[in-house]
Symmetry: C2
Subunit: 761 residues, 2 copies
Amino acid sequence: MVDYALIGKGIRRVDTTAKATGEALFSADLKLPRMLVGKILRSPYAHARIVHIDTSKAERLPGVKAVITGKDVPDERWGVFRYTQDQRFLPVDKVRYVGEEVAAVAAVDEDTAIEALKLIDVEYEELPAVFDIESALKPDAPLIHDAYPGNINISVDINVGDVEKGFLESFYIREDAFEAPEDSYFQGEPYAVVAHFDSSGNLEIWMPNAGPHLKAKPLSNVLKIPLNKVRVRKITIGGAFGGRSEISPADVICAFLAKKSARPVKIVYSREENSIATRQAHSMKATIKTGVDREGRVLARDITCYMDGGAYSSTGPIAVSVPFLCMEQAYRMDNVRYRGYRIFTNKPIRGMFRVHGRAFACGIDLQLDLIGKELGFDPLEMRLKNARRPGDYTPTKSKVVSCGMVEAIERAAEKARWREKWDRLPPYHGIGIGCNSVQTGFPMGIRGGSQAFIKFNEDGGVTVITGIVDNGQGNDNMIVQIAAEELGLKVEDIQLINADTEVTPSDPGSYSMCETFVGGNAVRLAAQDAKRKLLKIASEAMKVEPERLAMRDRKIYVIDRPQEAISISRVVRMALSRRENISGEGSYWPKVDSNREWVTNPFGQLSETFSFGAVIAEVKIDPETGKVDVLEVTAAQDVGYAINPKVIEGQFEGGVAMGGQGGMLSEKVLWYGGRVLNPDQLDYMVPIAPGMPKINDIIVETNDPGGPYGAKEAGMSVAMSAAQAYASAICNALGVYIHEFPLTPDKILKAIKEKEEGKNR
Amino acid sequence: MVDYALIGKGIRRVDTTAKATGEALFSADLKLPRMLVGKILRSPYAHARIVHIDTSKAERLPGVKAVITGKDVPDERWGVFRYTQDQRFLPVDKVRYVGEEVAAVAAVDEDTAIEALKLIDVEYEELPAVFDIESALKPDAPLIHDAYPGNINISVDINVGDVEKGFLESFYIREDAFEAPEDSYFQGEPYAVVAHFDSSGNLEIWMPNAGPHLKAKPLSNVLKIPLNKVRVRKITIGGAFGGRSEISPADVICAFLAKKSARPVKIVYSREENSIATRQAHSMKATIKTGVDREGRVLARDITCYMDGGAYSSTGPIAVSVPFLCMEQAYRMDNVRYRGYRIFTNKPIRGMFRVHGRAFACGIDLQLDLIGKELGFDPLEMRLKNARRPGDYTPTKSKVVSCGMVEAIERAAEKARWREKWDRLPPYHGIGIGCNSVQTGFPMGIRGGSQAFIKFNEDGGVTVITGIVDNGQGNDNMIVQIAAEELGLKVEDIQLINADTEVTPSDPGSYSMCETFVGGNAVRLAAQDAKRKLLKIASEAMKVEPERLAMRDRKIYVIDRPQEAISISRVVRMALSRRENISGEGSYWPKVDSNREWVTNPFGQLSETFSFGAVIAEVKIDPETGKVDVLEVTAAQDVGYAINPKVIEGQFEGGVAMGGQGGMLSEKVLWYGGRVLNPDQLDYMVPIAPGMPKINDIIVETNDPGGPYGAKEAGMSVAMSAAQAYASAICNALGVYIHEFPLTPDKILKAIKEKEEGKNR
């Protein structure tokens, strides 16, 4: 075990004080001189042709400084892949969902802006609309995009091994269907953008984001200005969860309003807008057919998933294959076919989510429980029999280098006393388990690498410059801990400049779980570059070879004679006296196969490494009310190496809240046609702190050879596994397997009633 | 001649739009939320013991948020050298000049702050004071600092060759005394500071400065916080001229007020405060004894200068030797003794100035004119006989690598038609010449080097990160031109991040005329580092050796087949596809001898190179009023290479305004004891644009081998030579040599009267 000074320690996060005192500013808090209020006019129709827009009355209203429609915005379309670019930031021809952006105003105050919106006359010609997958797939269904026949946005067909042969060889086969409606990310911070152009045409823009450089590129494209004029600034961010990954129409609209009015403009979304006009999670229907041998080992799987993508592609295409990729990483399966379809409907746009594909992931686990029941193996045994192991290749041919799946399952089982409890719990008590795995980055081509610069001040202090963004998960802290560790400094010796596209080099952003792995490695390499220079100078001064020197406690010392030491600040000054500046540069590019079609044809190394999680939940159900009381949750994850265990525990617990407590007990979007009925916190029930169960955190470390200090993704595997564990536990408590999530009291009561009536599913 | 795309072109300055529209913010323009107004209580006495300060009444005044005295500020003393650190930022024991800082308040508005100042009771015990060099040097003079017996702050004694032998061998010897009072820098922008601490103890501070990193270090020392918590920010600066070089008590006071009040604080100096409480130029008395051979060539010089330094050392010690160093660079002199003394008086503090040592420099030139008159050589011949030439060593042993002094003199003479006009001008018409030379940087030890980082965006745009500051002279533009030239890009492709101590690496600042030479070289090296990486990739793609490739117009092309080209943005994307980031780092340290005692013992290479200027002025005097009408000025300077001729012409013309028009015709500080009688623009007459003469700019290029593209300092040699040329021309017009500057109408009328009365001096 390496003896680190800071890595592996649960030191206090660097952003604590600013957040605790309220000093930290979020985008909505910003105030610029002469700033205007921006408001967006949204479509009242789910599907309609825009016949005419008359903005003249709005323009004449005193206090209105700019009105824009689709005509003011170049025809640059958004979509995460070149072949799915289908969304204009302000449509000109037709609207495709209730809430779509139609026009926008900037005015001196909010009242004037709202009044101006009312004065914009839009003549629509309403079109027939579709609101669910089945209707959208009907031959006579209204076509939402001309370019997508049959309303099929994307279809994925992955076929590995020989599925038919696998089924033929199977001892037992079963097929189940699972489904789940949409859920909402419900970030604590509502979406807000502030944009400002200076007289040289430079854009300064602030917004919650999961990668400032990813926001800058489409802004550069649509504004027709180079990247060095797009300055996405660092700002405190109140959660992303996949939902702040991509450019938003609001970003573009705010920039165009600022350009037209020649004044700063701020748009703050209402809670309702945040729920309908930012990305939210997909609904899904999954059919899973699994064949196992006599021992319960999976021999073949045939899976079909349909996802309702809403009206545009956005990052949605990625959502089609990722749930499958996660499960093929988590569980061994040699012969597998996966067919995934993303279907357009006239509903708000769905995107990437931290707890992705509930129906599919929970389905896989519930089906394993059902198979085990048939063969006489408990869910724990079923997981262990099928768990991914190190050295394996996934079906789509990613090598799994480090893998603590078995250890995560075993340690969770021991902590949760699974073997004591299984089959011995009283009625309506249950225990369940879920396992999942996530990538640390996707193949992102030229945007996949991260770079960091480091400079030393003459007093031995350091500045780190990196594009890594912190959405709340503690990335700022991760950077500082890595730099300080590598350079033998204290956390307070590190000054961090990050998440600003003007000054920082490129970085892939936090949305693909790669900031620690990719960005962290870049920071470490930059620090090592500076360290090499320091050790060379110290080596000459101390007359000891550089290999025999180490850095710690602000000193460079001889490893086997620690009392022989020299302060780092002195070595920096020695360097300066020799006319050498101490600085460092580091770049890290994940070792993945460049595969532009990885979503539809995901073969090759898709991510350099993977994290593995196992969650066990124990629940008690009130058969009178259907209410679930979660007694204890044990969350275990192979994080590679815990750079900061406290931060990781926070991620685990947030994951249980989001994936389990919210995602499986309460969260679902309610619809009336294309309208969201529960856009607010009263009706869309997000879990709150007092309702959280006891959580045991188990950090599994496998020291990934590619990760910084062995670290990889931390927390998302838990978030997903938690949903699965909750489903498994509740069905175990009920003795009935519900196939539609979340498992809300109404469904539980119905299941109890059906069970009592003998209708065992 | 190298064919550059941008270097050598008079392209529009990058800061033009922001300055023309008023968008550019100066420190006094800044507004931060909850910002307080800071005000400073100043001593009404020139010399007094502080017996007691009672701030209790001020503290009780509603709206007052902080009151500080010397007790609140650690005993860190300021002075540019360790051995001259004698100034507390707020004194505790005694005050040494009228206007010295005694206490300070921060309040919600200006009225309250002023009211609070009145409520601070300071009990003083007045001490005898001295206001001139002679009184300060008397044996019974009051002692201003215990550590400086005889009130002698610093004494310099340089003795080169054999002066006595030189005089013995001389054909003609004369000795003259010259003197000049203090002058004021009168920057357009008054001094202002805004300071703010965040909850993590990081200081953000804005102020006019000639080197943000030079400001950060003393702030770090006195605030006892590391450099990475001191963030001197970039802000538009309205002129420095040597007067924004060093830390100001206002910087420290503002920071302590911000710390104590836990709110942002802004201090804006009144015009009066700007004149008494920021550094201003020294007065000087110079005695010059010169011996020449029959041909007018100087064989020996013995010089003694006394400078009134005011109450503290500050950067003043440098001022003692610099005028001598400039002249020993400009004119050959093998046997020379220089004795320089800086004397403390109870007057405001004097510092470095762009037109340094008027009395001495003009004295040298006037004396050459007088010697020439005696020997039958005109001033032009005298300058040519004694001009510095390339390959020479200065008396203090600096090698002069590039030197266009003779060319500057000859071209100025030709343009001014000297040989046609000399001795042929009508009465009260005159023509005169002055020559001078400046360093490009002083030995600054560990702070002497500049470093720059460069990053490429994926679209081929570039960001340059450097500590170089722009005080108005065009340094921002210089950086951008160099980076764009080196990388074959357009000016608008370069994004500049500079003059911010948080993000930029160290840089010596603009105060020692070294930004182009030192900082410009660092930027060029950083660009070349990035270029090397780009050319390597392009070379492989184009199958041509890198040496055969060049970059221009956003393309990389084959030098001898320019149609074979590939766009730079494409090469950047190729690099990214290969998982390589394109970035660059460059450091430049001037090749000077490390000499910590260079002020008192300036031997060795003091600056890597020197600039050389020659100015010719033609004047007409109204004998009735003594008013000088400057008919034409020809300003020539060896700038090495003109990176931007338009910017350099601006510097030349500003130099003529400051050195000649202001420095020799009107500018002087008037005193009543230790009180400045003319602190404002009405009474201290700064030249204004409509009063400026016709100026011919002659840029001499000698392609310095060490300078970026051959460039070195531009403008300061002209500023100094202008003063000398004006003096020479006026004395020529009068036929009388006045030894006291500036040459104001009263002195001119007196000289005319004395001449008419036959009292030829």
